[in-house]
């Protein structure tokens, strides 16, 4: 996935042009570089290696490949010079260094140019830089970038900027940005250092804050120090914003899962006065259905593996809805006039489901393939990364919410549900098959729990006991939101989700649960019917 951020390379363009007075374009003449590297003069050799490293920036990718060959030959003492010719010895005979054409000159008559320790270090650094431009595999580029971090001899800010512009791997980018920032901060001209500080501060990450703070420790110039303080203050502000956003974001993702689970619960409770204690296990059924879909696709259509989460949306829904339908037909419909008994019955069903899965599949956590659209994320402000797996949960919840609203408001089935919820006897008298409506609604509610299971599969551990923790929170959502109210359920889910993530880092997960529970008990004192109870209910 291309990770496009507002690139600090772009912000730096003017600055780079300013400080890179001697922009090291690849010498048009490869021969000149070869001559310099063969000269035996330390200064000329250093400059030649610098130019070779800069060859990576060339539009023509063959330049980089050639430069890498030369640097590696120089390092490996396979480059031989003398009599105005330069050869690279290979297993199949010598080739001309400048053109890579075969040569009939006897390499044994030529001597390798002198290589001292510093030149060797520069050459290694240059080779790593060229690898950065040539390697296709991100892991290799990452190792090259880390190598340059230790051997900076041939690294310059413009080269790294060029590499950054081409780079799309997050980890490599992170290493390169820091590296370039620290190179810029070592510039002898205070004006350049100030410009560097300001440019770095544009990208407010904790990593950049550390880089600036470290540079300021050795800084003596007052103006630069002032610029550094301002930059750190601005980064801190952005980090603060990012932190708040990231808390809200993870709260929103928890809220979406909660909402999906509670929505089904709310519809069923509003319609039949029944609380389904197996709702958590229906979540588990949905997650397991997603896993089975993944395994089926893995064996049958491996090409589509990345899309299993999308394909599993109807499957998870149907699997949980089917289990719900069976529950309704076999058990729940016999108990409509005894809601307390349905608690025991649905609990027994949850026990059956958990233990059946435990016995047949095992109690280990399932392993899920992470397709590209649920891995990684979009860095927005500060250290706040809008992670894709949470985004997926939110998107599924929003889509489900919209679908359910349309279903309830626009379809005949939805009208039946609303009618039966408001007045069962009258709805029956008006010709609505109330038992059938109950059955369908129970399936719908169960299916929504299945969707919750799918949405949380990239986020949480999936195992037979995963659902048990959800029932309490989901029920709190129903109590807070008001029975059978969509808006209420949505708002309550958001509220409880946010409280959980806000309290959790400060006082721990237990305190968050205690807090929510106490809040709900106090709330019931004030509004026993919930936030948005439909008028005229029962």
């Amino acid at each position: 996935m291309a990770r496009r951020r507002v690139d600090f390379g772009h912000l730096l363009v003017s600055f780079i042009l300013l400080c890179a007075a001697s922009l090291p374009a690849l010498a048009q003449d490869r021969g000149t570089i070869i001559a310099e590297i063969c000269s035996g003069d330390f200064g000329a050799q250093q400059s030649a290696l610098g130019q070779l490293a800069a060859a990576g920036m060339s539009e023509d990718s063959s330049d980089a490949t050639w430069a890498r060959r030369i640097v590696e030959a120089f390092e490996g003492r396979e480059l031989r010079c003398g009599n105005g010719v330069a050869l690279i010895t290979t297993e199949d005979g010598a080739v001309q260094a400048a053109s890579m054409e075969p040569s009939d000159v006897d390499a044994e008559t030529l001597a390798p140019p002198s290589v001292n320790l510093r030149l060797r270090a520069t050459a290694a650094s240059a080779a790593a830089i060229l690898r950065l431009f040539i390697e296709e595999d991100a892991a290799n580029r990452l190792s090259a970038a880390n190598y340059i971090d230790r051997r900076r001899e041939a690294a310059t800010a413009p080269i790294l900027s060029a590499a950054l512009e081409r780079e799309n791997d997050a980890e490599v980018r992170a290493v390169l940005s820091t590296l370039r920032a620290s190179l810029l901060l070592e510039d002898p001209d205070p004006a350049n250092r100030i410009a560097a500080v300001e440019a770095i501060a544009q990208d407010a990450t904790l990593r950049n804050r550390t880089t600036i703070a470290e540079a300021m420790r050795d800084e003596s110039d007052a103006d630069v120090l002032a610029a550094g303080d301002a930059a750190i203050a601005s980064i801190d502000r952005m980090l603060q914003v990012g932190k708040i956003l990231s808390t809200l974001y993870s709260g929103a993702s928890y809220a979406s899962v909660l909402f999906l689970a509670a929505l089904g619960l709310a519809i069923i409770f509003g319609l039949m006065g029944v609380i389904n204690l197996a709702q958590g296990e229906l979540i588990m059924v949905g997650a397991y259905a997603a896993w089975f879909t993944q395994e089926a696709i893995r064996t049958a259509l491996p090409a589509l593996l990345d899309y299993y989460l999308i394909i599993a949306i109807p499957i998870s829904f149907m699997a949980a809805a089917l289990v719900g339908l069976l529950m309704e037909v076999i058990v729940i419909r016999r108990l409509y006039d005894r809601p307390l008994m349905t608690l025991l019955a649905t609990w027994a069903i949850s026990l059956l489901l958990i233990n059946t899965v435990r016995v047949t599949i095992g109690s280990q956590n399932l392993e899920f393939h992470q397709p590209y659209y649920v891995s990684g994320g979009f860095p927005l402000v500060g250290d706040f990364i809008m992670t894709s797996n949470r985004l997926f949960a939110i998107v599924v919840a929003i889509c489900a919410c919209v679908t359910v609203v349309v279903l309830l408001r626009r379809s005949l089935f939805g009208m039946n549900i609303r009618a039966v919820t408001q007045n069962r006897a009258m709805a029956g008298a008006a010709g609505i098959d109330t038992r059938r409506t109950d059955m369908m609604a129970f399936s719908l509610g169960s299916g929504l729990a299945g969707l919750a299971g799918l949405a949380l599969s990239p986020l949480y551990n999936v195992n037979p006991g995963m659902g048990t923790g959800f029932i309490v929170d989901s029920f709190m959502v129903v109590v807070l939101g008001g029975v059978g109210s969509l808006i209420g359920a949505a708002l309550a889910a958001i509220g409880i989700g946010q409280i959980n993530v806000i309290v959790e880092p400060i006082y721990g997960a237990v305190a968050a649960k205690v807090f929510v529970l106490l809040l709900v008990i106090v709330f019931i004192q004030w509004r026993p019917e919930g936030l948005f109870a439909p008028k005229g209910r029962r």
Binding site: V274, R338, V514, V520, Q525
Partner: protein, 370 residues
């Protein structure tokens, strides 16, 4: 829900008499067969005595729940909270007494690196103080929660789920080490109770006898209470609370009284249970156990104290027996029992008998108690 057959069943003391007679027999037999006659052919091994004692505490717990569910129509899915409260309090007494008088350092002090026990352990070395706490703390807990719930007329499914949530939260809190109750490991390593060796033969038989006696006293006491005008009021509240309010009754206090009594009985059951098993940890607070209590009552039959006692005895005996050799099958059996009971036997096992006894008197499903 109105219950015509209920009143008749209540006046029909056959089952109650059987239960009382069995309990009296046990109160006499357990100390006798477990004590002087332990070695003889009819003798009771300490293991069997211990199991009888444990089942008696479960039956007492079921009785406590039946009082509020069967008679008051208030289902609690959190009676494990009171049971565990009683258990934790007696465990604190035993550890503290062992520490102060016997010089045995409790594990949790070593584990937490404490040189002294926290403030809330003060005075627990005194047995009367511990007893007082076993009544007061769960009673107060029940009062607080009952008051806020009944006052705002939270009932039925709402009430049940919130009790479950409370128990769940209590479990999470007890799992933490810093609350000072032993955290995940709970409390164990009890040495003495009332100066007697906890593992000794006399103590095991004594505790079992005390449990059966407590059950008998609670059974007779609750039966008497339910025959009194208070019991009638409670049943009336269950059947039509709104009507009772219109008639000018304040329904808050009778409900609250029954709820607190139930909580205290459950705590006493817990206090008798923990010395017999020798350990308490937060798993006693898991929602599963609390729901299992409701299953005992539902199986035995709500609305008859004898039903609750019989249900608890049958299921826990079955559990002791089955988990011995097929532990993984137990959840399936329990779940199937529940499903069969709720779908086919609305009043639990009591349905089997009354169908023979009262054939023709039942009208449809009106005999069911919610």
């Amino acid at each position: 829900m109105a219950s015509d057959t209920f009143a008749e069943r209540h006046r029909l003391p056959l089952l109650s008499r059987i239960v009382v007679a069995t309990l009296i027999a046990l109160v006499v037999a357990v100390p006798l067969l477990g004590g002087p006659l332990a070695g003889s052919a009819a003798g009771l091994s300490p293991y069997m005595a211990n199991i009888i004692g444990q089942i008696a505490t479960f039956a007492l717990l079921a009785l406590a729940l039946d009082l509020v569910w069967g008679y008051g129509g208030i289902l609690s899915l959190g009676h494990g909270l009171f049971f565990a409260a009683g258990g934790y309090l007696i465990a604190m007494h035993m550890l503290k007494a062992g520490y102060v008088f016997g010089g045995v350092t409790p594990d949790l002090m070593t584990f937490m690196g404490w040189s002294e026990l926290p403030v809330h352990w003060a005075f627990f070395e005194s047995f009367p103080y511990a007893l007082l706490m076993i009544v007061l703390v769960p009673g107060l807990l029940a009062f607080l929660y009952g008051y806020v719930s009944f006052r705002s007329r939270v009932s039925g499914v709402y009430f049940a789920i919130i009790t479950q949530a409370l128990t769940y939260v209590a479990m999470l809190m007890m799992f933490r080490n810093d609350t000072g109750f032993g955290g995940n490991n709970g409390m164990t390593g009890f040495t003495t109770l009332l100066g007697q060796d906890i593992g000794g033969h006399a103590m095991v038989v004594g505790l079992a006898s005390a449990s059966v006696l407590a059950l008998l006293v609670a059974f007779i006491g609750c039966s008497a209470l339910l025959r009194s005008p208070f019991g009638k009021l409670l049943v009336a509240i269950r059947d039509d609370e709104a009507r009772l309010r219109f008639l000018g009754y304040d329904t808050l206090w009778p409900k609250l009284a029954a709820w607190c009594l139930s909580g205290i009985l459950a705590a006493i059951a817990g206090a008798l249970y923990v010395p017999q098993v020798g350990i308490i940890n937060p798993r006693l607070l898991s929602p599963e156990l609390s729901i299992e209590i409701a299953v005992w009552v539902a199986l035995g039959g709500r609305g008859a104290l004898s039903g609750a006692v019989i249900g608890a005895a049958i299921i826990s005996a079955l559990k002791f027996w089955l988990t011995g050799f097929v532990p993984e099958a137990w959840p399936f059996i329990l779940a199937l029992v529940v499903l069969v009971v709720v779908t086919l036997l609305p009043n639990g096992l009591l349905d089997l008998k009354p169908q023979v006894l009262w054939r023709g008197r039942r009208s449809g499903k009106r005999g069911m108690i919610e």
